[in-house]
């Protein structure tokens, strides 16, 4: 059935891992990118992601339509985003502290409502086969991608266009770079930030639905192993550029597949080191791209961590 590919199996597995594992990173980091561009950090997206996974699975199970689950997860994520945005709009509220609180709240609520959903099986999202041209079954299975990944890629390009070329993008960047300037120009600061945070929540909710409805495709309390948190860090790593977010998400997805793939071809020692590959890579890239002069290039000036 399967041919022996030898070492070629490793790049194919990394490619497959890239396409399978990167989507949650991509959605969360694109959403967070918009939120941070408006001058706020939402660290609670990990909780939103877990809640989205639960809501997506529940929605799919109850309606029988996985896309209804995705929509429900998005709506739930939006509500979490709005909650964060509303709390942070009160005077003297720290957005990082609120984010950590919402991270715990989101996971806790998801575990509470998700209890009855662990056992039943919900309908899964369909995949798109892009590997029909190939005769190699391994490559065909690696090129089985979710439509959500393609939607994510389109959103990344679209966001880049919005940031660079549209009035909305300009207002968003101005609110994030200098609240004083935005106020002087007469733009409403708080509504812009609320909208941006709600969008971030929406995207994180969708990312959760991808975890529970496509890959790995099941709801349980361990479904996220910190993807939401890593994705928030990826935004900084990607220097607040949506296309770089896409690249960072793909790198993290592919690097995560490296450990299992190497073990499967017989490179069996040192797997803990291979599992650390994404983080070593992050350190190396941050080290290579940073300098005292342009370390925070692209960072919104209103962000509480850079202010």
């Amino acid at each position: 059935m399967n041919e022996d590919l030898g070492l070629w199996a490793v790049p194919i597995a990394v490619l497959g891992g890239m396409l399978r594992v990167s989507t949650p990173f991509l959605f969360v980091s694109l959403g967070e990118c918009v939120t941070e561009k408006s001058g706020r950090i939402n660290l609670g997206l990990e909780g939103t992601l877990v809640f989205g996974a639960m809501a997506g699975y529940g929605g799919s199970y109850l309606t029988g339509n996985p896309w209804a689950g995705v929509l429900l997860a998005g709506i739930a994520g939006t509500l979490f985003g709005l909650l964060h945005a509303a709390l942070c709009s009160l005077p003297r509220v720290n957005d990082i502290a609120v984010g950590i609180a919402l991270m715990i709240l989101g996971s806790g609520l998801a575990f509470f409502f998700g209890k009855p959903l662990i056992q039943p099986a919900a309908p899964m999202l369909p995949g798109l086969s892009l590997g029909g041209w190939s005769d190699v079954p391994q490559l065909r299975s690696a090129l089985e991608v979710s439509p959500l990944l393609l939607i994510g890629v389109v959103i990344a390009v679209f966001l880049l266009f919005v940031f660079k070329r549209t009035r909305i993008g300009l207002i968003l960047r101005m609110v994030g770079d200098s609240a004083d300037a935005a106020r002087a120009m007469g733009y409403p600061i708080i509504p812009v930030r609320i909208t941006a945070t709600a969008f971030g929540g929406f995207m994180a909710g969708i990312a959760g639905a991808y975890l529970s409805l496509y890959y790995p495709g099941s709801w349980n309390e361990n479904i996220s192993s910190g993807q939401g948190l890593i994705a928030v860090a990826l935004v900084i790593f990607a220097r607040w550029n949506p296309l770089a977010c896409l690249g960072a998400a793909l790198i993290f997805g592919g690097a995560g597949a490296l450990g299992p793939a190497l073990q499967s071809v017989g490179v069996t020692s040192g797997y803990y080191l291979f599992y650390a590959a994404p983080y070593i890579l992050t350190l190396a890239i941050l080290f290579a791209t940073s300098s005292p002069r342009r370390a925070l290039e692209g960072a919104p000036r209103e962000l509480s961590i850079t202010k």
């Binding site: 495709g217 192993s225 499967s264 040192g270």
Partner: protein, 368 residues
């Protein structure tokens, strides 16, 4: 005694003042007993924690017994808080902390602090230096994995099996070795490819490991991770057969599920609860395997051939007689060293098996 700090003092005072309000003041009273179960993960995870929760559910209706449970308790100071709250607020007289990492120092220290409460920990770590009101129990599941390996050996067409494992600790290595030896007793050409994910619950990595194994041609897969749900669904989705672990995962993949090695804790919990209710002394050190009904084999799935069933049942009958040894000489590890000399036999009760640090010939993988 546990060190008294402000937080513990406040908790203790609050608990003591609340206890009379709850009207449960005599935890050690023999005719009624509250037994507390502590789980490290969700109790319906299709895995390790579910196997314990099923055991707890089996004794729920015993007369005079109240069951309390807490799940998702970390292997840290959190388990001490949980146990203290079970003792002080719920009046628990018997506590089962079910996760391996709870034992030292958390269970040992709490047992010293509450001498009239009995603690029985799952994992088999108790020695006679530890408090007498503590103890441990465990099951010999390696032999069950050997029988699952026989089924897998009959069902594989590619002669390659896949094993998704969490960490290279002795129990896991024994399972991998037993599974491989079972399969190789059917056909000595069979190899088992093992992938270590590095931790007990890593759903995405487990799914990636399954994909990598199937890509390499493995067509029967098993695992040793805490919650095999993602593993079973992904493997069945890729068209591979699976044998399960911890509890039966047959409902997740009815066509692809062959069999599995399951815990059967109900036997253990029933024994402890009956003794405690009768006011008898509880044993400190309890172990058993298939013959003692501490572990069991899942019902065979529809795909399993008659030939496979016949051999597996014959071996199981041997095991039931007692003294059956999976690990026996001459045995080489996968680096070519002799690990068990000819003529040596280690039945499942042998203490040597608990320090296993090698993978047998036929396993592709490494312990570090």
């Amino acid at each position: 005694m546990l060190p008294m700090n402000r937080r513990r003092f406040l908790a203790t005072t609050a608990a003591l003042s609340a206890a009379p309000l709850l009207g449960r003041v005599s935890p050690a009273f023999a005719a009624s007993l509250t037994a507390g179960f502590v789980y490290v993960g969700p109790r319906d995870d299709y895995g390790y924690n579910q196997s314990h929760a099923e055991g707890a559910a089996a004794i729920r209706d015993m007369a005079g017994l109240t069951i309390i449970e807490e799940e998702n308790v970390a292997e840290s100071d959190a388990v001490v808080k949980t146990m203290e709250s079970m003792i002080q607020l719920d009046g628990a007289g018997l506590i089962f902390p079910t996760s391996f990492g709870y034992y030292n120092p958390f269970v040992v220290d709490t047992a010293k602090a509450y001498e009239d409460v009995q603690f029985r920990h799952c994992g088999g770590l108790w020695t006679d230096k530890d408090p007498k009101n503590a103890g441990s129990y465990f099951g010999y599941i390696g032999t069950a994995q050997y029988i699952c390996g026989i089924i897998a050996g009959h069902m594989t067409k590619s002669k390659r099996l896949g094993f998704v494992a969490a960490k290279p600790i002795p129990q896991v290595l024994l399972n991998i070795n037993a599974y491989t030896l079972g399969a190789r007793s059917v056909d000595p050409e069979i190899t088992t490819q093992v992938i270590f994910t590095g931790d007990w619950a890593m759903p995405v990595k487990e799914a990636e490991a399954v994909n990598a194994l199937v890509d390499q041609g493995a067509d029967v897969l098993t695992c040793h991770v805490d919650s095999p749900k993602v593993f079973v669904q992904t493997a069945a989705g890729r068209g591979a057969y699976v044998t399960g672990y911890h509890t039966s995962q047959a409902p997740l993949a009815p066509e692809k599920y062959l069999t599995g090695a399951e815990w059967h804790w109900a036997t253990v919990y029933k024994m402890f609860a009956e003794k405690a209710l009768a006011g008898e002394e509880l044993p400190n050190f309890v172990r058993g395997g298939l013959a003692e009904d501490f572990v069991k084999i899942s019902d065979y799935g529809p795909a399993v051939t008659e030939e496979a069933k016949k051999q597996a049942d014959a071996v199981k009958a041997e095991v039931m007689k007692g003294g059956f040894a999976v690990i026996k000489g001459p045995l080489k590890d996968n680096k070519g060293n002799d690990v068990v000399a000819a003529g040596n036999e280690y039945p499942e009760t042998a203490i040597e098996l608990e320090s296993m640090d090698y993978l047998v010939e036929g396993v592709i993988g490494s312990t570090s």
